[in-house]
Symmetry: C2
Subunit: 180 residues, 2 copies
């Protein structure tokens, strides 16, 4: 059972990240794992927040209203789910995410998304530092490569820098076992 | 010349990090590079802010008032320099750093300190996302190891995840050349 003090925060699961220009990702099946999490939270009536990276620059893949700005099919929000738009890496800066979580009495935040090293890492760090018990779901989170490092190295080293200091790091299976 | 819209933010240069329990660091001479930066800013009358990690737990190396809580000798604050205490990784959370920078008209923040992957990375990410032009000084910043990765790998991969997305990454020499 998911308590009503837990929220699932899905970061930037947008079609922009399906573009081939990104190159390889560490975790190509991340969106399907996120979909598992999402459906479990929905079934249990847990709080779900979809974070949507949103830019005003028409050439951005995240330009508001563009096809690539929209959510990936496996994690499409349903009618009553909350969508919070952001325009920087952190889901907590320039948004009402912190106040929404507090208004809902949330103590624990479960985070997954794109990319491990930029928006997810920044959101996890702030979530932990703001006092939320924070869990990052590693196989529902994906890194891109940054030369000379491949995507897997960026993913793994980023997780190492977050582990214990900011968040628990678990797989989708490990997370769901907590609640079953 | 340093403009009056630039601030130097030195993160956690405290004797705690001289303790052998940390193991190897990526950048053993970081504090001497930070001292160069500090003296240059002082000579030019630039704004300097010393961030001091401060815990209320008496067994912490960062316990307020303990020897290891105090600043390293080469970067000891002088009388009129600002000290801001924090108790989480981000220098911007639970502190007045953002408002102090804005009150001083700061547009550009130069950051160095301990550790690259935890407090420095988190502070750099928030500085960039809050809209400050942010520069991280790589050889005045030091990482510790996180098994199975050595300190150098943690340092270098962390810099790769910050570069361009959150901050310019420069050496002390490159930074000082900007102003000379």
């Amino acid at each position: 059972m998911i308590g009503n003090n837990v929220a699932l925060v899905l970061v930037d699961f947008q079609k922009a990240f399906e573009e081939p220009s990104w190159g390889e990702f560490s975790t190509p099946k991340a969106v399907f794992k996120a979909s598992e999490l999402l459906h479990y939270f929905r079934d249990q009536g847990g709080l779900v927040i979809h974070i949507q990276h949103t830019r005003t620059d028409p050439v951005s893949l995240f330009y508001k209203g563009s096809l690539t700005h929209s959510f990936m099919e496996p994690v499409l929000p349903v009618e009553d789910e909350m969508i919070i738009q952001k325009d920087v890496n952190s889901s907590f800066i320039g948004t009402n995410l912190e106040s929404v979580l507090k208004e809902h009495g949330v103590l624990e935040v479960i985070i997954a998304g794109f990319t491990t090293q930029h928006c997810v890492s920044t959101t996890v760090r702030m979530s932990g530092n703001l006092g939320f018990k924070t869990t990052l779901v590693s196989d529902a989170t994906s890194a891109s490569a940054i030369a000379p490092y491949d995507a897997q190295t960026i993913h793994e080293v980023t997780l190492a820098t977050l582990r214990d200091e900011f968040a628990d790091i678990v797989t989708t299976e490990e997370l769901l076992l907590r609640y079953r």
